[in-house]
């Protein structure tokens, strides 16, 4: 593994019964931002699960730094079960009761199941971005967000990519052009490859 890499993948292919995309080499350094794009079904979410260690690679190797703290915000993360959870409850459960962010509703006593899908996504994304971790994996984090919120997220990514020493960030997104300084990876389906 190269000196500062938190995670290094060589010849990586993900998939359960068959490889979904052509072999991929990745080296994720602290403070780096990597944007992953590709057609539907090419295996972007499988790649994220494999990087998170939730799924074994179909082929190739993934080496992680010792005691790597991984935060994997999947595309289903905003689908919370209905129940009597307030915004304050969720923040307390995540260990960030005082989190101050424009995306956290002012009324923290409000029930989360009364928020719209977009508001819920923004709240959870704000929490994920504030979570202390070494590797932050965000799988289509902006899919329910309005244009203004997408801009805010892109600005946050630009700032994060310019900051040294933060977590390595990998984002599956279809707005790949929004952060110029990021490293871009386009997954290629096996048939295309």
């Amino acid at each position: 593994m190269s000196a500062a890499a938190l995670l290094q993948a060589r010849g990586l292919q993900a998939g359960l019964a068959a490889p979904l995309f052509a072999a991929l080499d990745l080296a994720l350094q602290a403070g780096s931002v990597t944007l992953v794009s590709g057609d539907n079904g090419v295996g972007k979410s499988s790649l994220m699960r494999t990087l998170a260690g939730e799924q074994a690679p179909f082929a190739g190797t993934v080496q992680r730094a010792h005691a790597l703290r991984v935060c994997h915000f999947s595309q289903h993360a905003a689908q919370l079960p209905a129940g009597p959870f307030s915004v304050a409850d969720l923040l307390a459960l995540a260990g960030m009761p005082e989190l101050a962010h424009a995306w956290v509703p002012d009324d923290r006593g409000q029930r989360v199941d009364r928020l719209s899908g977009g508001q819920r996504q923004r709240l959870l994304l704000a929490m994920a971005l504030a979570t202390p971790c070494d590797l932050l994996l965000l799988d289509e984090p902006t899919q329910y967000l309005d244009a203004a919120s997408r801009h805010v997220f892109a600005a946050w990514l630009t700032t994060a990519s310019a900051r040294a020493g933060g977590p390595a960030i990998v984002v599956v997104t279809h707005d790949a052009e929004t952060v110029e300084s990021a490293h871009h990876v386009r997954l290629q389906a096996i048939t295309d490859a």
Binding site: F73, F85, D89, L90, L93, A94
Partner: protein
């Protein structure tokens, strides 16, 4: 009247405590969609108490012991037969119920316990039972309070780093089983089930947050017990039946008052326009 009150005071106190604890537990079980497990754990606890009665052991030891053994090992053993957790609980419920019937049919001691498992033993308990049940119930509630935060955080926010270990899940399961076994022996299987289900249903849609939902359910359960215990004594009726009717009526009144408040609010807005 005073004499009667003193005679039934231990049962009243134990029932009050267990009603609040079981109702609060109902919210936690519902959060994980595991309310059905209450029925299976309670039935296994009764089977354990029956076996203990036949062996001449203390009933509580049998109830807790078997319920915990089945929760830890039994559910795992039947995993190949039923992959979904609710199916496993249903299978265990049916097996435990069949075993209870067989024991009741073949042993006089077990037959006596079979009747009290339905009716509960609140009117028969002594102060020493209150202490024994109370200590286990309080310990179970304390353990549950300690491990629930990490487990709930992982359930709702699975992307957070640092998933809780198996020890957390095991401690939670044992605490839940201990509370349910205690409840089943004290209040009977059906009152235990009603206390786990009805107060949690009632406050689910209206509570402002998790703590409010738990507190609301506990107050709901305790209030129902006070009313039902008094009514059962005054009308000389069996406590479990009165308790379940009171719980259902209170839930209907709570739901009705919310609907009435919503209707009044809408009507008021229309008049103002």
């Amino acid at each position: 009247m005073l004499e009667q009150l003193l005679l039934f005071a231990p049962g009243f106190v134990l029932g009050l405590f267990m009603s609040a604890v079981l109702a609060a537990l109902g919210v936690i079980l519902r959060l994980r969609d595991e309310a059905l497990s209450a029925f299976s754990h309670a039935q296994v606890a009764v089977l354990g108490a029956m076996l203990a009665a036949i062996a001449g052991w203390p009933l509580l030891i049998g109830a807790w012991g078997l319920a915990m053994l089945v929760a830890v090992a039994g559910l795992w053993l039947i995993k190949p037969v039923a992959a979904v957790a609710s199916s496993r609980h249903l299978l265990v419920l049916l097996l435990a119920w069949s075993a209870c019937l067989l024991l009741a049919d073949n042993h006089a001691q077990a037959r006596l316990l079979s009747a009290s498992a339905v009716e509960g033993q609140l009117l028969l308990v002594q102060w020493r039972d209150v202490v024994a049940h109370g200590v286990v119930g309080a310990l179970g509630a304390a353990v549950l309070g300690g491990v629930s935060k990490a487990l709930l955080a992982h359930q709702l926010l699975p992307w957070l780093p640092g998933a809780p270990g198996r020890a957390h899940a095991l401690a939670r399961e044992l605490a839940v089983v201990a509370i349910l076994a205690t409840g089943a022996l004290a209040s009977g299987i059906f009152v235990t089930l009603a206390l786990v289900l009805i107060p949690a249903w009632s406050g689910w849609a209206s509570a402002r947050g998790l703590r409010a939902a738990v507190l609301q359910a506990a107050i709901f359960g305790a209030s129902a017990h006070v009313l039902a215990f008094g009514l059962a004594l005054a009308l000389d009726q069996v406590y479990p039946a009165v308790m379940i009717v009171v719980l259902a009526l209170m839930a209907a009144a709570h739901g009705g008052s919310r609907k009435w408040a919503a209707l009044t609010f809408r009507w008021g807005r229309r008049v103002r326009r």
